[in-house]
């Protein structure tokens, strides 16, 4: 099993490409939930049945390729160390759920890390497909084709009236969760985000902060996704999500230009202070690091900070996570040790940009 590069690199290969609107949209994701016909859902299925599904996917799909998603690596979660599991979760290649119930769970990950199929998660099959920037339609087309490719060999649990049958009633129908990861620092600074989130919720879409455990969206990164999966076609879901995201982009751009006009110096100060903290601090916790990284990225987007690549946001956000730090150190670290290593990795990474 060669999973080293999934673990060693903080940034997935596909993230290196800039997608449309990539100053604000980090990535687009399509997730399809599917189940194998006539087998109980992982929640209550017997070990033997789940093991059979696990083995089937290994036998049929390990080292197979689909389009440009080449050479799927098959990873049994039970074979991973705690730190390896942690890193794959931090990279969003697998879910915390897959790790929690890991006896017969597995993941099929393409070399470009664009496709990750989780086996025996809450549903038997969860296809995840990522694209950089805002590319929901393209991601959906690719995911549909991949879904058809899997279905050549797997009978799905499907009902004409209810659609794809899933363990949770909130996924039934299309089994689709389309989501977009957005960097919204200006909407956060101006507190407009607090008014926008409830408005979007009312439309059947969800906005939530990712990373971190508190109420605040760490790194000002938000995920927008559909809540309704039944009764709407996948194309409609994706196009509605796309228009919400486009509106958010508009609001964010607007807020950025207002900030630049009304308080350019304050903004510049904020950005350079953050840059200074990242460049010189010797001890830094994840929350402070995320806030500073977000400010620096805003500085890059506004042309205030030059000669630093945008990718630094995606990369550092993973690099500063506990699992990745411990993988890097090759040992378990206390919170204090992590803060020290985090500061030194960030410094090194910024040095690289010079």
């Amino acid at each position: 099993m060669s999973l080293e590069h999934f673990i060693d690199e903080a940034i997935s290969p596909w993230m290196r490409d800039d997608g449309p609107e990539s100053d604000i949209v980090l990535s687009s994701r399509i997730r399809l939930a599917r189940n194998v016909a006539d087998v109980s859902f992982p929640l209550i299925a017997s070990e033997e049945k789940l093991e059979a599904i696990h083995d089937f996917f290994q036998e049929k799909y390990e080292h197979q390729s689909f389009r440009n998603h080449e050479d799927f690596e098959f990873i049994s979660i039970r074979d991973l160390t705690a730190v390896e599991k942690h890193v794959l979760v931090e990279k969003h290649l697998i879910s915390p759920h897959l790790v929690k119930y890991s006896d017969e769970s597995a993941a099929l990950i393409s070399q470009n890390e664009q496709i990750s199929v989780m086996i025996n998660e809450e549903d038997h099959i969860r296809i995840q497909l990522y694209y950089p920037g805002l590319q929901l339609e393209r991601a959906l087309e690719d995911a549909f084709a991949f879904d058809d490719w899997l279905e050549e060999r797997v009978d799905y649990a499907f009902d004409e009236t209810r659609g794809y049958l899933t363990c949770c009633p909130t996924n039934v129908g299309t089994g689709l969760r389309a989501s977009v990861m957005m960097h919204l620092p200006a909407l956060t600074i101006t507190k407009q985000i607090n008014r926008i989130i409830p408005a979007i919720n009312q439309l059947g879409f969800v906005v939530r902060g990712i990373y971190g455990e508190g109420s605040e969206a760490v790194g000002n990164i938000f995920q927008v996704s559909n809540q309704i999966t039944l009764g709407k076609s996948e194309e409609d879901i994706v196009s509605d999500l796309g228009s919400i995201v486009n509106q958010l982009i508009g609001h964010e751009r607007n807020a950025r230009s207002i900030l630049m006009k009304q308080s350019e110096l304050t903004l510049e100060d904020r950005i350079y202070r953050s840059y200074g903290v990242l460049e010189y601090s010797r001890i830094i916790n994840a929350t402070e690091a995320s806030r500073c990284i977000s400010n620096v990225r805003l500085g890059i987007d506004l042309g205030i900070i030059k000669h630093t690549s945008r990718n630094i946001l995606n990369e550092l956000m993973v690099l500063i996570q506990p699992g990745f730090l411990q993988h890097f150190a090759k040992k378990n670290l206390t919170a204090n040790e992590r803060d020290v290593l985090r500061a030194s990795l960030i410094r090194e990474r910024l040095e690289l940009e010079k």
Binding site: D38, I44, H97, R153, D159, T170, V172, P198, T229
Partner: protein
């Protein structure tokens, strides 16, 4: 506006919650939001699950208040023959045990789906490519069989033979899948 929890700090987070079908506006400060766990969804399945159990429990309590004992008894006896899950277990955990649960609990699901999916109860999207064709084939065979029955009854045996061949042709082309338990 002050925070509705501590009444000390100003409310900086404003959001709507749906509890038992009632919309509730919330205005809290960041400290209280953190304490109460608002806006912290590390696992989407988890939060949806809680929302959902609320929805289902709401539904059940409403049924209790309606004094319809037959319906109540039926609901207690609903048990999935494939996986053994009962409707009350489903209510409790908010998850189905298997695909057959959908069939078993079918008569009780519409209100739950309507609440979770903005009034929708029917799928309106993708159909499996391969088995989707099987589905169409099966429908076609059913309609041929009805026609055949009618032709035999009216003693139109020549036409009946043609239809019978068509059915045979459709049936002789079963598409098998490799995964899935067929027992």
């Amino acid at each position: 506006m002050e925070c509705q929890e501590c009444h000390e700090r100003p409310a900086t987070l404003h959001f709507t919650q749906v509890i038992n079908g009632e919309k509730k506006e919330n205005h809290v400060c960041e400290v209280c939001a953190k304490e109460k766990g608002y806006l912290s969804y590390p696992d989407e399945a988890y939060s949806f699950h809680h929302l959902l159990t609320d929805l289902i429990n709401f539904n059940a309590s409403k049924l209790d208040s309606v004094e319809n004992k037959t319906l109540k008894q039926q609901s207690q006896e609903l048990t999935c023959t494939h996986c053994g899950m009962t409707f009350s277990q489903f209510k409790q955990i908010g998850k189905f045990g298997c695909a057959s649960c959908y069939e078993t609990f079918s008569s009780r699901l519409d209100p739950i789906f309507r609440r979770a999916h903005a009034g929708n109860t029917k799928h309106n999207g993708k159909v499996p490519k391969r088995t989707g064709i099987d589905l169409q084939t099966r429908k076609q065979i059913e309609s041929y069989k009805k026609e055949l029955q009618h032709l035999i009854e009216t003693e139109a045996f020549e036409d009946a033979a043609i239809i019978r061949d068509k059915i045979k042709e459709l049936e002789s082309n079963p598409r098998k899948s490799e995964a899935g338990d067929k027992s």
